[in-house]
Symmetry: C3
Subunit: 383 residues, 3 copies
């Protein structure tokens, strides 16, 4: 896959977070949400791409399955024409090599039932988990840790109702993470109708007070590994935008305080608490698709006590919050990430030519943490 | 031309047929059909591309001619605006360098008739032969052998009437050859209306009987070099498609036995005998155009005794066989080759990552034969 | 930027004008016209690209300004969404880094007014001059010499009224220069309605008389550096186009003698005097945009004594000469350059595979002069 590898001359100049810069296609041996549960119907295979790997998802007897979407024989994609002659199997349209969804075993070859290869080869399968209306796929080679080690705290809590949307964004996944976790990027939301229409307090930026670390890392032994941005506590929010001492633009000094608590988690998922209003959270994944695309998967969460409450919450998300928050507010972010891709995607020059400032320290800490605590870097020879 | 060269690291891993893998742009010093006779009118130059070389064809006093489509001076294509001021010559539209079609001599420069270059340089010309309604061009540097050494046996026979069509396919030429010569690929034709509507016997595949060689090579001294697939004799045809012992799909057990005799010939042309019915043959070329495109030139042939019979045959092809066989049946093949290009075209990885099975032995033998018996490999510095 | 660098193996084979071949993106430390004055309105920033550098132009209090169109922070383009909160400044839409147009100083950061970076960094600014209705930008690092050293003689003369148009052409800038300065290229204009309709003398080409140098160089100490083509004096114009001694095409033997005096000037601007008729000049720039695009900026000039005369001249250009000359005649040149790009743009092979003839000596002298007298080569690390 072209563009998947970073020029060694660039890598040599990176100090402190070289593995992160190498991870153009993402971190291997992690769980990623691929699609929503409602997108995966019984025995209707769906193609997806994660970390540059083409994967075929399916649901069999209700259980989600995932296999490499490429026949071992001549490398064609099953998804070009899905053929299934017996439940639990998939047959390649070209020479009828047939695999089991469950374990990838080459169980039959219809065109040559006497082939010595039958039973001797396995197609790569991927561990899959379905939680909170999402299909999670483990892209890697090791025994997968529990899903809870790769999602933000609270996400899997009983009673946490989850609902949202996903879309493709034309930027590398890291520009998604860094846009989301970047405190100062809120400047781009200054004209958002979510903010004005909902009496939300949203400053233009933050002036850090020099008072030690502005982040707090959580290293997951059983739980997830991530980083809290403490800038809210350790800075003065900027509501008056000044140039040469003259106020030229103002932030929104609303009554509702939101986004108190912002954290980023491996392998690249943000939690904003509360958001877009008290009692709700936003979780958003920036799933690596290829070198210049990520899947932006945004969900809102609320603790609910009953199924009725959960259903009502999902209806509320559909009726109100998708338009106002997930689209209305976050469309600005999509646009910003795509605008940043040009510089970082131009032979990865951005990683060595960028010039960071004080409020980027949280991003720097994320890069370091991700460099140290990831479970592997996706390489082009994994594709 | 980008993508014309194979990564040496890939070539190193190829065992047994490295020259074949190198021949991404085809084999040099062979005859290739470029267009049909009816496509080449008197003094109406036509641009074509063979093995990555842009070539200008013309017909002068009925005789076909071919020259490199690139002025020696500043490298522009004559075909951008064909200018001809005297029969038998072509004048470059830019600075009026003028060449003879017959020998490529730079015979005049209209803009500077006193130039010392006149008469001193030659544009590359290509030997051309017109046979069976096709214009054959010899792409190479050596004295061309007879055309008969590069076409399948029988093709040039007196009385053999030939008619067909051609089209561009977005795959490397070798994926065309291997699709055509591959016995097991018939699985993709399982729903073809040619088969069902004509009572043709077409199994789903072949289970080889371990009985020695499944191919027979013919090394041409005067005639062509090629390979017969003997799998028909040395295998059990599979009409019952089984998974775990249960029949899940069936082949066509028609009364008409066809395709008894399948052979592949250098530089890349297949003969199927008989096809699509008794008394007819299909010949098909996979002519290299560029690294990811081949011209699929399909003709049907029948022995005829008179001109009237030959005309009737061509009318029959137009009225019936193009729709039913050359399109109806072979459209499946076009689609399959294009679907295979992704893997083999991705830095040529397919050549070293593919995993072949028993019925691919004929393909393996073809690769070896082609590696040993080709007359040269097209290199990017020939372009 | 892809394609900005020339393969060293190609450069090694170039004799006599290697720096010129290296200058794929143009010569650095020269003045280039970017847009017409009327395209640059008060405080309406306009994006342009010169020599591969994205530049933002603006007009403030009537004075043109130019800055690098890329924020120092995360490298985004200001032009994606221009934000200006105080006259004389530009604020990046992403994190509100704010720069002065005049000197590029990072004067404020709205999102973090306490940042230590404020006042410590400078964005690249470009010297700008507005003359003759054109905005000239100096792309380089040195103290700019006077504009007069980079425009043809006469262009800046008092009373010289200038008017014209510009457009993007899909070829490298050098193919523009060489098309314009090439005496023999006039063959492509043989059917131009400007020529036929205006009784202009236009031969088909020139047969040089062997009488020494066909060019005369002017090395600018204070003025521009360039080269006059003396071929007009030292050749026999070809009006009868002959092939094997037979006249097959004729030039235009009109009464009006034009284009007596053709000269090319660094960094790549042609002067044709007189043209398209007595008392007028054409000046045309081939401004490098990226490796495969140049901006073709064509103007006509006439000496005028009063503002009324100058206005009348510009009206005449609009009413007559754009259609007849700048489009009607020069469209042929645009087409020819784009047709030449294929060969020279294919890994720069044209520079070593071309085969020049006698009337190309002026081009050769230009290449040598440009190689010796340019003020620098644009490199990809300047981008």
């Amino acid at each position: 896959m072209s563009g998947a590898t970073v020029d060694p001359a660039v890598l040599e100049k990176v100090r402190g977070w070289r593995p992160y810069v190498e991870a153009k296609l993402g971190f291997r041996n992690h769980w990623y949400p691929a699609v929503f549960s409602h997108e995966l119907l019984e025995d209707k295979p769906v193609e997806t791409m994660l970390l540059g790997e083409s994967i075929l998802l399916n649901r069999l007897d209700g259980k989600p399955r995932a296999i490499r979407n490429r026949c071992l024989h001549r490398g064609v994609k099953f998804s070009k024409q899905v053929e299934c002659y017996k439940k639990g199997t998939i047959t390649c349209w070209y020479h009828a090599w047939t695999y089991n969804w469950a374990d990838g075993e080459l169980s039959d070859i219809i065109t040559n039932p006497s082939s010595s290869l039958i039973g001797k080869h396995r197609l790569k399968t991927y561990p899959v988990r379905e939680e909170k209306g999402l299909i999670f796929v483990f892209v890697g080679d090791i025994d997968p840790p529990d899903l809870s080690s790769d999602v933000p705290p609270g996400f899997l809590d009983e009673g946490m109702a989850i609902h949202g949307k996903r879309r493709m964004v034309k930027s590398n996944w890291r520009l998604g993470v860094e846009n989301g976790f970047d405190a100062s990027h809120i400047f781009i939301h200054k004209r958002s109708k979510l903010v004005a229409g909902n009496d939300i307090a949203l400053p233009l930026g933050f002036a850090p007070i020099d008072a030690g670390d502005s982040t707090r890392a959580v290293i997951g032994d059983t739980g997830p590994t991530g980083l809290y941005d403490l800038l809210g506590e350790k800075s003065i929010p900027v509501f008056e935008g000044e140039l040469s001492g003259e106020t030229v633009i103002e932030g929104h000094f609303g009554a509702k305080k939101v986004a108190d608590n912002i954290s980023i988690w491996l392998p690249g998922v943000l939690k904003v608490d509360p958001w877009p209003q008290e009692g709700m959270n936003q979780f958003e994944w920036y799933v690596p698709v290829d070198a210049t695309t990520h899947c932006y998967l945004q969900v809102l969460g609320r603790m609910t006590a009953t199924k009725e409450e959960a259903d009502a919450f999902r209806q509320e998300v559909d009726a109100k919050w998708i338009e106002l928050a997930l689209d209305g507010f976050n469309d600005d972010d999509v646009w910003a990430r795509e605008a940043t891709e040009e510089f970082y995607g131009d032979n990865d020059r951005g990683w060595i030519e960028e010039r960071l400032f004080e409020t980027d320290m949280a991003i720097v800490e994320w890069r370091k943490l991700a460099s140290q605590r990831n479970r592997g870097i996706q390489r082009s020879d994994n594709l």
